[in-house]
Amino acid sequence: MSTVVRLDDAVVTAGRFPVLTGLTLTARAGECLVLEGPNGAGKTSALRLIGGLESLARGSGEVCGIDLRRGDRREIRRHCGWLGHEGSFYDDLTVRENLTFAARAGGFDLAGLATSVEAVGLSQRLDVRAALLSAGQRRRLGIAWLVMRRPSIWLLDEPIAALDTSARIFLQGILEDALAKGVCVILSAHDNTMELRAPVSRLTIVGGRIEMGESS
Protein backbone atom coordinates (compact mmCIF):
# COMPACT_ATOMS: atom_id res chain seq x y z
CA MET A 1 0.00 0.00 0.00
CA SER A 2 1.46 3.36 -0.97
CA THR A 3 1.94 6.14 1.56
CA VAL A 4 -0.53 8.96 0.95
CA VAL A 5 0.03 11.02 4.10
CA ARG A 6 3.30 11.79 5.83
CA LEU A 7 3.77 14.26 8.67
CA ASP A 8 7.16 14.93 10.25
CA ASP A 9 7.28 16.85 13.50
CA ALA A 10 4.36 19.01 12.40
CA VAL A 11 3.58 22.10 14.46
CA VAL A 12 0.33 23.99 13.88
CA THR A 13 -0.74 27.06 15.80
CA ALA A 14 -4.08 28.68 16.50
CA GLY A 15 -3.09 32.25 17.16
CA ARG A 16 -0.16 31.81 19.53
CA PHE A 17 -1.33 28.48 20.93
CA PRO A 18 0.38 25.38 19.52
CA VAL A 19 -2.42 22.93 18.77
CA LEU A 20 -0.01 20.42 17.24
CA THR A 21 3.41 20.26 18.85
CA GLY A 22 5.43 17.94 16.66
CA LEU A 23 3.08 15.38 15.14
CA THR A 24 4.67 12.55 13.17
CA LEU A 25 2.58 9.98 11.37
CA THR A 26 2.09 8.18 8.07
CA ALA A 27 -1.05 6.80 6.46
CA ARG A 28 -1.40 4.50 3.47
CA ALA A 29 -3.95 3.91 0.76
CA GLY A 30 -6.54 1.35 1.85
CA GLU A 31 -5.64 1.88 5.52
CA CYS A 32 -7.81 3.21 8.33
CA LEU A 33 -5.94 5.45 10.77
CA VAL A 34 -7.80 6.20 14.00
CA LEU A 35 -6.67 9.22 16.01
CA GLU A 36 -7.69 8.89 19.63
CA GLY A 37 -7.19 11.20 22.55
CA PRO A 38 -8.87 13.53 25.02
CA ASN A 39 -10.63 16.78 24.12
CA GLY A 40 -8.20 19.45 23.01
CA ALA A 41 -5.48 16.95 22.14
CA GLY A 42 -5.26 18.15 18.55
CA LYS A 43 -7.16 15.42 16.70
CA THR A 44 -9.32 17.80 14.65
CA SER A 45 -6.31 20.02 13.95
CA ALA A 46 -4.42 17.00 12.64
CA LEU A 47 -7.29 16.20 10.28
CA ARG A 48 -7.46 19.81 9.14
CA LEU A 49 -3.71 19.88 8.52
CA ILE A 50 -3.88 16.72 6.42
CA GLY A 51 -6.85 18.15 4.52
CA GLY A 52 -4.90 21.28 3.60
CA LEU A 53 -7.10 23.48 5.77
CA GLU A 54 -4.31 24.51 8.14
CA SER A 55 -0.79 25.71 7.48
CA LEU A 56 2.37 24.29 9.00
CA ALA A 57 4.15 26.55 11.46
CA ARG A 58 7.06 24.10 11.67
CA GLY A 59 7.94 20.64 10.47
CA SER A 60 7.11 19.10 7.12
CA GLY A 61 4.55 16.89 5.48
CA GLU A 62 3.15 15.56 2.25
CA VAL A 63 -0.34 14.57 1.20
CA CYS A 64 -0.70 12.61 -2.03
CA GLY A 65 2.82 13.69 -2.91
CA ILE A 66 2.03 17.42 -2.49
CA ASP A 67 4.22 19.30 -0.04
CA LEU A 68 2.19 20.88 2.77
CA ARG A 69 4.51 23.88 2.96
CA ARG A 70 5.27 24.74 -0.64
CA GLY A 71 2.60 22.85 -2.56
CA ASP A 72 -0.83 23.96 -3.70
CA ARG A 73 -3.14 23.35 -0.74
CA ARG A 74 -6.17 23.63 -3.01
CA GLU A 75 -4.87 20.61 -4.90
CA ILE A 76 -4.45 18.75 -1.61
CA ARG A 77 -8.06 19.55 -0.72
CA ARG A 78 -9.28 18.10 -4.00
CA HIS A 79 -7.82 14.75 -2.94
CA CYS A 80 -9.62 14.86 0.41
CA GLY A 81 -13.19 14.63 1.63
CA TRP A 82 -14.44 15.92 4.98
CA LEU A 83 -17.15 14.61 7.29
CA GLY A 84 -17.56 16.55 10.50
CA HIS A 85 -20.01 16.14 13.31
CA GLU A 86 -21.52 19.45 12.24
CA GLY A 87 -23.30 19.74 8.90
CA SER A 88 -21.14 19.55 5.82
CA PHE A 89 -23.53 21.10 3.30
CA TYR A 90 -26.07 23.84 2.77
CA ASP A 91 -28.93 23.73 5.24
CA ASP A 92 -31.25 25.70 2.96
CA LEU A 93 -30.86 23.31 0.03
CA THR A 94 -32.51 19.93 -0.34
CA VAL A 95 -30.66 16.63 -0.33
CA ARG A 96 -30.93 16.48 -4.12
CA GLU A 97 -29.71 20.08 -4.55
CA ASN A 98 -26.76 19.57 -2.20
CA LEU A 99 -25.61 16.44 -3.98
CA THR A 100 -26.21 17.94 -7.42
CA PHE A 101 -24.00 20.85 -6.42
CA ALA A 102 -21.27 18.51 -5.20
CA ALA A 103 -21.49 16.44 -8.37
CA ARG A 104 -21.39 19.42 -10.70
CA ALA A 105 -18.57 20.99 -8.70
CA GLY A 106 -16.49 17.89 -9.21
CA GLY A 107 -17.54 17.49 -12.82
CA PHE A 108 -19.22 14.19 -12.05
CA ASP A 109 -22.10 12.64 -13.96
CA LEU A 110 -25.41 13.16 -12.19
CA ALA A 111 -26.25 9.52 -12.82
CA GLY A 112 -24.09 8.69 -9.78
CA LEU A 113 -26.37 10.77 -7.57
CA ALA A 114 -29.07 8.10 -7.43
CA THR A 115 -26.51 5.43 -6.52
CA SER A 116 -25.05 7.55 -3.71
CA VAL A 117 -28.46 8.39 -2.29
CA GLU A 118 -29.48 4.74 -2.47
CA ALA A 119 -26.27 3.68 -0.73
CA VAL A 120 -26.96 5.95 2.26
CA GLY A 121 -30.68 5.26 2.47
CA LEU A 122 -31.92 8.79 1.73
CA SER A 123 -33.98 8.02 -1.37
CA GLN A 124 -37.17 9.04 0.43
CA ARG A 125 -35.67 12.34 1.56
CA LEU A 126 -34.39 13.70 -1.75
CA ASP A 127 -36.54 16.82 -1.70
CA VAL A 128 -36.25 17.55 2.01
CA ARG A 129 -34.16 20.54 3.10
CA ALA A 130 -30.98 19.54 4.88
CA ALA A 131 -31.93 21.67 7.90
CA LEU A 132 -34.96 19.42 8.48
CA LEU A 133 -33.01 16.15 8.52
CA SER A 134 -32.26 14.34 11.76
CA ALA A 135 -28.68 14.15 13.03
CA GLY A 136 -28.27 10.66 11.64
CA GLN A 137 -29.73 11.64 8.29
CA ARG A 138 -27.41 14.64 8.11
CA ARG A 139 -24.49 12.32 8.71
CA ARG A 140 -25.74 10.09 5.89
CA LEU A 141 -25.98 13.12 3.61
CA GLY A 142 -22.38 13.95 4.45
CA ILE A 143 -21.40 10.39 3.59
CA ALA A 144 -23.35 10.56 0.33
CA TRP A 145 -21.38 13.73 -0.45
CA LEU A 146 -18.16 11.75 0.10
CA VAL A 147 -19.36 8.76 -1.92
CA MET A 148 -20.37 11.08 -4.75
CA ARG A 149 -16.97 12.83 -4.81
CA ARG A 150 -14.84 9.71 -4.39
CA PRO A 151 -11.78 11.46 -2.91
CA SER A 152 -8.74 9.31 -2.18
CA ILE A 153 -8.53 10.42 1.48
CA TRP A 154 -11.53 10.58 3.80
CA LEU A 155 -11.17 12.77 6.87
CA LEU A 156 -13.85 12.03 9.45
CA ASP A 157 -14.07 14.12 12.60
CA GLU A 158 -15.75 12.03 15.33
CA PRO A 159 -18.01 10.34 12.80
CA ILE A 160 -19.74 8.02 15.27
CA ALA A 161 -20.64 10.72 17.81
CA ALA A 162 -24.43 10.90 18.33
CA LEU A 163 -25.07 7.86 16.12
CA ASP A 164 -27.16 4.95 17.27
CA THR A 165 -26.01 1.35 16.86
CA SER A 166 -27.63 0.75 13.47
CA ALA A 167 -26.18 3.99 12.13
CA ARG A 168 -22.72 3.00 13.37
CA ILE A 169 -22.99 -0.37 11.67
CA PHE A 170 -24.11 1.36 8.49
CA LEU A 171 -21.14 3.73 8.63
CA GLN A 172 -18.73 0.86 9.25
CA GLY A 173 -20.04 -0.85 6.14
CA ILE A 174 -19.53 2.26 4.03
CA LEU A 175 -15.98 2.68 5.36
CA GLU A 176 -15.08 -0.97 4.77
CA ASP A 177 -16.33 -0.62 1.20
CA ALA A 178 -14.28 2.53 0.66
CA LEU A 179 -11.15 0.98 2.22
CA ALA A 180 -11.50 -2.04 -0.05
CA LYS A 181 -11.39 0.36 -2.99
CA GLY A 182 -8.08 1.84 -1.80
CA VAL A 183 -9.36 4.94 -0.01
CA CYS A 184 -7.30 6.08 2.98
CA VAL A 185 -9.62 6.80 5.92
CA ILE A 186 -8.38 8.94 8.81
CA LEU A 187 -10.83 9.50 11.60
CA SER A 188 -10.83 10.93 15.08
CA ALA A 189 -12.60 9.22 17.95
CA HIS A 190 -12.85 9.47 21.71
CA ASP A 191 -13.30 5.78 22.22
CA ASN A 192 -12.51 2.43 20.71
CA THR A 193 -15.92 1.37 19.43
CA MET A 194 -15.18 1.31 15.71
CA GLU A 195 -14.47 -2.27 14.58
CA LEU A 196 -13.59 -2.50 10.91
CA ARG A 197 -12.75 -5.49 8.77
CA ALA A 198 -9.75 -3.70 7.33
CA PRO A 199 -6.19 -2.75 8.37
CA VAL A 200 -6.54 -0.28 11.23
CA SER A 201 -3.83 1.74 12.92
CA ARG A 202 -4.59 3.54 16.18
CA LEU A 203 -2.63 6.53 17.37
CA THR A 204 -3.20 8.36 20.63
CA ILE A 205 -2.64 12.10 20.46
CA VAL A 206 -2.01 13.99 23.67
CA GLY A 207 -0.73 17.53 23.96
CA GLY A 208 -0.58 17.88 20.18
CA ARG A 209 1.62 14.90 19.38
CA ILE A 210 1.60 11.11 19.35
CA GLU A 211 1.79 9.55 22.78
CA MET A 212 1.43 5.97 21.66
CA GLY A 213 0.28 4.00 18.67
CA GLU A 214 -0.21 0.50 17.27
CA SER A 215 -1.42 -0.98 14.02
CA SER A 216 -3.63 -4.01 13.63
Binding site: R74, E86, Y90, A105
Partner: protein, 219 residues
Protein backbone atom coordinates in the same frame (compact mmCIF):
# COMPACT_ATOMS: atom_id res chain seq x y z
CA UNK B 1 -14.29 29.51 -14.55
CA UNK B 2 -17.67 30.34 -16.14
CA UNK B 3 -19.05 26.90 -15.29
CA UNK B 4 -18.09 27.31 -11.64
CA UNK B 5 -19.40 30.89 -11.62
CA UNK B 6 -22.78 29.74 -12.89
CA UNK B 7 -22.87 26.88 -10.39
CA UNK B 8 -22.03 29.12 -7.42
CA UNK B 9 -24.37 31.93 -8.51
CA UNK B 10 -27.31 29.56 -8.89
CA UNK B 11 -26.52 27.98 -5.53
CA UNK B 12 -26.31 31.33 -3.71
CA UNK B 13 -29.49 32.59 -5.35
CA UNK B 14 -31.27 29.37 -4.47
CA UNK B 15 -30.15 29.65 -0.84
CA UNK B 16 -31.45 33.23 -0.80
CA UNK B 17 -34.74 32.21 -2.41
CA UNK B 18 -35.27 29.56 0.27
CA UNK B 19 -34.44 31.82 3.18
CA UNK B 20 -35.97 35.04 1.76
CA UNK B 21 -33.67 37.16 3.93
CA UNK B 22 -33.57 39.94 1.29
CA UNK B 23 -37.33 40.05 1.00
CA UNK B 24 -38.19 39.95 4.70
CA UNK B 25 -35.23 41.67 6.32
CA UNK B 26 -33.01 43.63 3.96
CA UNK B 27 -35.67 45.40 1.88
CA UNK B 28 -37.74 46.47 4.89
CA UNK B 29 -34.52 47.78 6.44
CA UNK B 30 -33.82 49.76 3.27
CA UNK B 31 -37.31 51.22 3.09
CA UNK B 32 -37.21 52.12 6.80
CA UNK B 33 -33.87 53.86 6.27
CA UNK B 34 -35.38 55.89 3.40
CA UNK B 35 -38.23 56.86 5.69
CA UNK B 36 -35.75 57.91 8.37
CA UNK B 37 -33.96 60.09 5.80
CA UNK B 38 -37.28 61.80 5.14
CA UNK B 39 -37.87 62.28 8.88
CA UNK B 40 -34.40 63.75 9.30
CA UNK B 41 -35.08 66.29 6.54
CA UNK B 42 -38.39 67.35 8.03
CA UNK B 43 -41.89 67.52 6.50
CA UNK B 44 -41.51 71.00 5.02
CA UNK B 45 -38.25 70.40 3.20
CA UNK B 46 -38.19 69.66 -0.50
CA UNK B 47 -35.03 67.83 -1.42
CA UNK B 48 -33.09 68.74 -4.52
CA UNK B 49 -32.49 65.85 -6.97
CA UNK B 50 -28.80 65.69 -6.04
CA UNK B 51 -29.58 65.37 -2.31
CA UNK B 52 -32.25 62.76 -2.97
CA UNK B 53 -29.80 60.88 -5.21
CA UNK B 54 -27.12 60.98 -2.54
CA UNK B 55 -29.48 59.67 0.12
CA UNK B 56 -30.63 56.93 -2.26
CA UNK B 57 -27.07 55.75 -2.76
CA UNK B 58 -26.33 55.84 0.97
CA UNK B 59 -29.29 53.54 1.58
CA UNK B 60 -28.18 51.26 -1.29
CA UNK B 61 -24.75 51.11 0.29
CA UNK B 62 -26.16 50.09 3.69
CA UNK B 63 -28.36 47.47 2.01
CA UNK B 64 -25.41 46.12 0.05
CA UNK B 65 -23.45 45.75 3.31
CA UNK B 66 -26.11 43.40 4.61
CA UNK B 67 -26.28 41.42 1.37
CA UNK B 68 -22.49 41.12 1.16
CA UNK B 69 -22.21 40.03 4.78
CA UNK B 70 -24.90 37.43 4.18
CA UNK B 71 -23.15 36.16 1.04
CA UNK B 72 -19.90 35.78 2.94
CA UNK B 73 -21.56 33.71 5.66
CA UNK B 74 -23.41 31.20 3.47
CA UNK B 75 -20.51 28.82 3.97
CA UNK B 76 -19.62 30.07 7.43
CA UNK B 77 -20.50 27.02 9.50
CA UNK B 78 -17.22 25.12 10.07
CA UNK B 79 -18.40 21.84 8.59
CA UNK B 80 -19.80 23.48 5.47
CA UNK B 81 -16.70 25.64 5.03
CA UNK B 82 -14.46 22.57 5.25
CA UNK B 83 -16.56 20.54 2.83
CA UNK B 84 -16.79 23.32 0.28
CA UNK B 85 -13.05 23.95 0.52
CA UNK B 86 -12.50 20.28 -0.25
CA UNK B 87 -14.33 20.68 -3.55
CA UNK B 88 -11.35 22.69 -4.78
CA UNK B 89 -13.51 24.96 -6.93
CA UNK B 90 -11.80 27.44 -9.23
CA UNK B 91 -11.57 30.54 -7.00
CA UNK B 92 -12.03 32.95 -9.90
CA UNK B 93 -15.27 31.18 -10.73
CA UNK B 94 -16.37 31.28 -7.09
CA UNK B 95 -15.66 35.03 -7.00
CA UNK B 96 -17.63 35.72 -10.18
CA UNK B 97 -20.47 33.48 -9.05
CA UNK B 98 -20.80 35.08 -5.63
CA UNK B 99 -20.45 38.58 -7.08
CA UNK B 100 -23.14 37.80 -9.66
CA UNK B 101 -25.54 36.60 -6.99
CA UNK B 102 -24.85 39.68 -4.83
CA UNK B 103 -25.25 41.91 -7.90
CA UNK B 104 -28.68 40.51 -8.74
CA UNK B 105 -29.83 40.73 -5.13
CA UNK B 106 -28.58 44.28 -4.61
CA UNK B 107 -29.85 45.42 -8.02
CA UNK B 108 -33.34 44.17 -7.24
CA UNK B 109 -33.18 45.98 -3.91
CA UNK B 110 -31.80 49.13 -5.54
CA UNK B 111 -34.57 49.25 -8.14
CA UNK B 112 -37.20 48.96 -5.44
CA UNK B 113 -35.42 51.60 -3.37
CA UNK B 114 -35.16 53.85 -6.45
CA UNK B 115 -38.91 53.63 -6.79
CA UNK B 116 -39.15 54.39 -3.07
CA UNK B 117 -36.88 57.40 -3.53
CA UNK B 118 -39.13 58.82 -6.26
CA UNK B 119 -42.13 58.32 -3.97
CA UNK B 120 -40.77 59.36 -0.60
CA UNK B 121 -37.95 61.78 -1.44
CA UNK B 122 -39.51 63.12 -4.64
CA UNK B 123 -36.73 62.23 -7.03
CA UNK B 124 -38.25 62.91 -10.48
CA UNK B 125 -39.28 59.68 -12.18
CA UNK B 126 -37.78 60.66 -15.54
CA UNK B 127 -34.48 61.36 -13.81
CA UNK B 128 -34.61 58.02 -12.04
CA UNK B 129 -35.17 56.20 -15.32
CA UNK B 130 -32.34 58.04 -17.07
CA UNK B 131 -29.98 57.18 -14.24
CA UNK B 132 -30.58 53.42 -14.51
CA UNK B 133 -27.34 52.70 -16.40
CA UNK B 134 -25.31 54.40 -13.67
CA UNK B 135 -27.29 52.57 -10.97
CA UNK B 136 -26.42 49.28 -12.62
CA UNK B 137 -22.73 50.21 -12.80
CA UNK B 138 -22.67 51.38 -9.18
CA UNK B 139 -24.35 48.19 -7.99
CA UNK B 140 -21.89 46.16 -10.06
CA UNK B 141 -18.99 47.93 -8.36
CA UNK B 142 -20.53 47.42 -4.92
CA UNK B 143 -20.98 43.72 -5.64
CA UNK B 144 -17.52 43.08 -7.04
CA UNK B 145 -15.61 44.98 -4.38
CA UNK B 146 -17.92 43.80 -1.62
CA UNK B 147 -17.52 40.14 -2.54
CA UNK B 148 -13.76 40.42 -2.37
CA UNK B 149 -13.82 42.32 0.91
CA UNK B 150 -16.36 39.88 2.31
CA UNK B 151 -13.89 37.07 1.71
CA UNK B 152 -11.11 39.12 3.30
CA UNK B 153 -13.01 39.49 6.54
CA UNK B 154 -14.81 36.15 6.70
CA UNK B 155 -14.11 34.08 9.77
CA UNK B 156 -12.35 36.89 11.61
CA UNK B 157 -13.10 38.25 15.05
CA UNK B 158 -15.15 41.38 14.68
CA UNK B 159 -15.91 40.77 11.00
CA UNK B 160 -19.40 42.40 11.27
CA UNK B 161 -17.68 45.70 12.08
CA UNK B 162 -14.50 45.11 10.11
CA UNK B 163 -16.35 44.59 6.81
CA UNK B 164 -18.01 48.04 6.77
CA UNK B 165 -14.74 49.69 7.85
CA UNK B 166 -12.97 48.21 4.83
CA UNK B 167 -15.80 48.49 2.33
CA UNK B 168 -17.16 51.98 2.97
CA UNK B 169 -14.02 53.94 2.00
CA UNK B 170 -13.67 51.85 -1.13
CA UNK B 171 -17.25 52.54 -2.09
CA UNK B 172 -16.87 56.30 -1.71
CA UNK B 173 -15.85 56.84 -5.36
CA UNK B 174 -18.91 54.84 -6.43
CA UNK B 175 -21.24 56.95 -4.37
CA UNK B 176 -19.67 60.17 -5.61
CA UNK B 177 -19.83 59.08 -9.23
CA UNK B 178 -23.38 57.77 -8.86
CA UNK B 179 -24.71 60.92 -7.23
CA UNK B 180 -22.82 63.23 -9.60
CA UNK B 181 -24.19 61.34 -12.58
CA UNK B 182 -27.76 61.90 -11.43
CA UNK B 183 -26.99 65.55 -10.65
CA UNK B 184 -25.41 66.00 -14.07
CA UNK B 185 -28.42 64.45 -15.78
CA UNK B 186 -30.72 66.72 -13.75
CA UNK B 187 -28.78 69.85 -14.77
CA UNK B 188 -28.17 68.71 -18.38
CA UNK B 189 -24.41 68.56 -17.93
CA UNK B 190 -22.04 66.02 -19.32
CA UNK B 191 -21.78 62.83 -17.26
CA UNK B 192 -19.68 60.56 -19.47
CA UNK B 193 -16.56 60.97 -17.32
CA UNK B 194 -18.46 59.70 -14.28
CA UNK B 195 -19.63 56.66 -16.21
CA UNK B 196 -16.03 56.20 -17.30
CA UNK B 197 -14.92 56.18 -13.68
CA UNK B 198 -17.55 53.60 -12.81
CA UNK B 199 -16.50 51.38 -15.68
CA UNK B 200 -12.83 51.65 -14.70
CA UNK B 201 -13.72 50.80 -11.10
CA UNK B 202 -15.80 47.80 -12.13
CA UNK B 203 -13.20 46.46 -14.53
CA UNK B 204 -10.46 47.01 -11.94
CA UNK B 205 -12.27 45.06 -9.25
CA UNK B 206 -13.27 42.31 -11.66
CA UNK B 207 -9.63 41.75 -12.53
CA UNK B 208 -8.54 42.09 -8.89
CA UNK B 209 -11.16 39.60 -7.76
CA UNK B 210 -10.30 37.05 -10.43
CA UNK B 211 -6.61 37.27 -9.59
CA UNK B 212 -6.77 37.59 -5.80
CA UNK B 213 -9.87 35.77 -4.56
CA UNK B 214 -8.00 32.48 -4.61
CA UNK B 215 -5.28 33.89 -2.38
CA UNK B 216 -7.83 35.06 0.17
CA UNK B 217 -9.87 31.88 -0.01
CA UNK B 218 -6.78 29.80 0.49
CA UNK B 219 -5.89 31.59 3.72
Amino acid sequence: MIRVARLVAVKDLRVEWRSRVILWQVLPFGVMTLLLMGFAEGPETTLSPSVAAGLFYVVVLFVSMLVIARSATIESSPGTANSISMLGLDPAGVFLGKATAVFLEVLLSALILLAGTTLLLHLPLALALHSLPSVVLVVMGLSLAGTLYGALTSGLTGSPTLLPLLVLPTMAPLLIAGERTISAIATHQTWSSWLGLLIVFDVGYTVAGILLYGVVEDS
